[in-house]
């Protein structure tokens, strides 16, 4: 590990943050609000720290695996610190813990908030809050590749830890191409959603900030009541469509929209993802129709929006699902664990792993009946390695263990069990809302300080696919390489 290389590339990541801080400061200036000084001061300070290594460290074409991993994880952690500074300087409900929680929630595209009154925030800060989603969603590291002129081996190494490992095979082994695909899809979806939302009556500021949050599958809204505040079914339909799209592997979206390829409909994972959403929506709709006073139109509207919002790990709300009957709540929690496809900005275990898990369970059952049979686990006509299946199952088990451990710690801190379990599942899956007081229209302000630190750590673990963050703390990768 060569520290100067780490300084150079994490410095570049900081500079990308500075660009968005400056845009937020300009917005603050336009709206003449109180966030200009905190935003501008943060931009200046972070810019100075970020630009300095560029003066000293020349560009390099060789980045080792360990350096790549350190750059990725350190960039996430530093971005979260940087993201907290404007909140901390602005004040209001933000103390150190709250600012850190909000920033981590933003960058990991979780969307949980500690704010009891979001609308009290100045526009500049609201824009910065949404920007953290957008930056986090695409992965700051992917952005960083933009400004590395030599997108060869170094690009790929940085990229590996960013995208869920299982999605790697569908991207061509070319970081430059992958970056281009991601950028086209990401920016294209954001612009398209913003335009549609404006056309359906949302103002430009809200349209852009909500698009940032949708495409990043984040969930930060500029309103206390989230999407429910607009009470506009047309806007909800637009957001539903873009939430679904944002939950699909971006490489597949690219092949559909740009290359006119219909491969997307042949993908087992995508088929499973869409069918599960459809099935859960229908079940929730029928249950709401049966057990609540809602009419069919409202029941359909709320069930579709809430299931898709949680199922894609976005976390927007058009209704208070914490008062719903038991079956929809269980479905919501299942989706908060599973979330959407790998290769998208979604969090959670991911449908890819769940599909492999179901298939592995199916195979195991067949092996009970035919112990001598050789039964491969296939995904889209491709047999998976036993090691891949083993790692997949290990990941799911480890994921659930972390959720259990963090929930237990929260309960030990006197958080009620519903808030603790659902809040942890939502944090680990980067979903946002859980059930109870941390539900779709609630917030995390009442969680004790230590609990907020636990939840933000869990968000980072989920975003960095658990092992990415854990390996960061292994002393071996920090071994300094002598030049």
């Amino acid at each position: 590990m060569r520290p100067h290389i780490i300084f150079r590339y994490t410095g570049l990541v900081l500079l990308i943050n500075v660009v968005f801080l400056l845009i937020s400061a300009v917005i603050s200036l336009v709206y003449n609000d109180t966030a200009f000084r905190p935003l501008f001061f943060s931009a200046l300070l972070i810019g100075l720290v970020g630009v300095f290594p560029l003066v000293y460290v020349p560009n390099t074409k060789e980045i080792s695996n360990n350096e790549g991993l350190i750059i990725v994880v350190l960039s996430w952690l530093l971005s979260c610190v940087v993201g907290a500074i404007p909140y901390l300087l602005w004040g209001g409900e933000f103390n150190f813990t709250n600012a850190w929680f909000e920033s981590v929630s933003g960058y990991t595209t979780t969307g949980s908030t500690i704010l009891t009154n979001i609308e009290a925030l100045p526009k500049g800060l609201l824009f910065w809050r949404s920007s953290t989603h957008w930056l986090g969603g695409l992965g700051i590291i992917v952005f960083m590749l933009l400004i590395i002129p030599t997108l060869g081996l170094s690009g790929i190494i940085l990229f590996k830890t960013q995208i869920a490992p299982i999605a790697k095979d569908t991207f061509r082994n070319n970081a430059k191409n992958t970056l281009r695909i991601l950028l086209y899809v990401y920016v294209g979806l954001t612009v398209a959603e913003s335009i549609l939302l404006v056309l359906f009556g949302m103002n430009v500021f809200d349209a852009v900030t909500h698009s940032f949050a949708t495409i990043a599958t984040g969930g930060f809204s500029t309103r206390n009541m989230s999407i429910a505040a607009f009470n506009n079914p047309a806007m909800e339909i637009v957001i539903i469509v873009f939430m679904i799209l944002s939950g699909i592997h971006f490489g597949l979206l690219f092949s559909v929209f740009i290359q006119g390829n219909t491969r997307i409909f042949k993908s087992t994972v995508v088929k499973y993802y869409l069918l599960m959403i459809l099935a859960a929506t229908v079940i929730t709709f029928l249950d709401l129709l049966n057990k609540t006073q809602l009419g069919w139109a409202d029941a359909l509207r709320y069930s579709a929006f809430q299931i898709i919002s949680i199922g894609t790990s976005t976390g927007f709300a058009n209704a208070d699902s914490s008062v719903w009957p038991a079956i929809p709540k269980v479905l919501l929690m299942f989706f908060a664990l599973q979330c959407a496809c790998a290769g998208s900005t979604s969090g959670g275990i991911k449908t890819d792993r769940i599909v492999v898990l179901w298939k592995a369970i199916g195979r195991q059952l067949k092996l009970v009946l035919h112990p001598r049979a050789v039964i491969p686990v296939r995904l889209d006509n491709k047999s998976l390695d036993e090691s891949e299946i083993g790692f997949n199952i290990l990941y799911v088990v480890f994921y659930l263990l972390i959720v259990s451990a963090a929930s237990t710690l929260l309960i030990a801190l006197n958080v009620n069990s519903v808030d603790a379990f659902s809040g942890t599942i939502a944090a680990m899956g980067n979903v946002g809302p859980g059930l109870g007081s941390v539900g779709s229209l609630g917030n995390f302000s009442h969680i004790p300080g230590l609990g907020k630190w636990i939840l933000s750590s869990v968000m980072l673990l989920g975003r960095l696919e658990i092992f990415g963050l854990l390996i960061f703390f292994v002393p071996y990768i920090w071994k300094i390489r002598k030049s």
Partner: protein
């Protein structure tokens, strides 16, 4: 990039960071100072004015009682001095309207004091002692209580606002140190990075050059030093390398 620019840029950034932190802290402290001044000006003045008005109407109430007891001169004197005092208090309060609803309270005080004043300046003195007491409780004392209530309301409004502003100030004071803390932490981080880079790109190569020259002189080991940066140290290394080659060739010729 040249060596001088590299070194100077480090110090320049450090100075810039500390300057920004300094300017921000000064601005915050100066804002805090003006907020304290504002707090005193806006609320404390009105509270003081309310106290003056209360003292004035209480004096006038005592004056009426003295009139009722037959001490006419003394009573009138006290009532008039109370009137002057009230005018002073009212003047301060009415020229310092800074809170929502404060003007309405001041208008009420004015109206009620005018009613009160019309009675106490020309009190109807009744001969019968018992009727005098009844008159006192029926008219002047009732007005006295009304106006006292309005003045107390004005005082409470300013009290509450002062408490809220003081709480906000306390919050502001703790926030005022934040830019300083953030800047200091950033400066420490920056200094560590600066130190590492200076060590890696300047001190390390100089030590390498020195050791390699020593090896060449002592044991005739060829001078081979790889310098990553493209600055004067790189040029120095190449010059030393050329010098070593020339010296080596001269030695071989001997």
């Amino acid at each position: 990039m040249r060596l001088r620019i590299k070194i100077l840029s480090g110090f320049f950034i450090l100075v810039l960071m500390l300057t920004i932190a300094g300017i921000w802290s000064i601005t915050e402290l100066s804002n805090l100072g003006s907020s304290v001044r504002q707090l005193l000006d806006e609320n404390y003045k009105s509270i003081n004015a309310s106290k003056i008005m209360l003292e004035a109407v209480e004096r006038q109430d005592s004056g009426i009682l003295l009139l009722l007891l037959g001490k006419t001169d003394e009573g009138r004197k006290i009532i008039l001095s109370g009137d002057s005092l009230f005018a002073l208090g009212f003047e301060i309060a009415s020229s310092n309207v800074t809170i929502e609803n404060e003007q309405a309270l001041i208008d009420n005080i004015k109206e009620k004091y005018e009613n009160y004043s019309s009675y106490i300046k020309n009190p109807i003195i009744i001969d019968d002692q018992a009727n005098r007491i009844n008159w006192y409780f029926d008219i002047p004392h009732k007005y006295f209580n009304d106006i006292k209530k309005e003045i107390n309301d004005l005082m409470s409004l300013n009290d509450r606002t002062m408490f809220n502003t003081a709480t906000a100030l306390q919050n502001k004071a703790s926030r005022a140190v934040m830019p300083g803390i953030v800047s200091i932490l950033a400066a420490i981080l920056f200094s560590l990075i600066f130190t590492y880079l200076v060590n890696y790109y300047f001190i390390g190569p100089i030590i390498k050059i020195t050791n390699s020259v020593r090896e060449f002189v002592d044991r005739n080991v060829p001078y081979i030093v790889k310098i990553e940066s493209h600055d004067e140290i790189n040029e120095l290394s190449r010059s030393v390398e050329t010098l070593c080659q020339i010296t080596g060739e001269a030695d071989n010729k001997k």
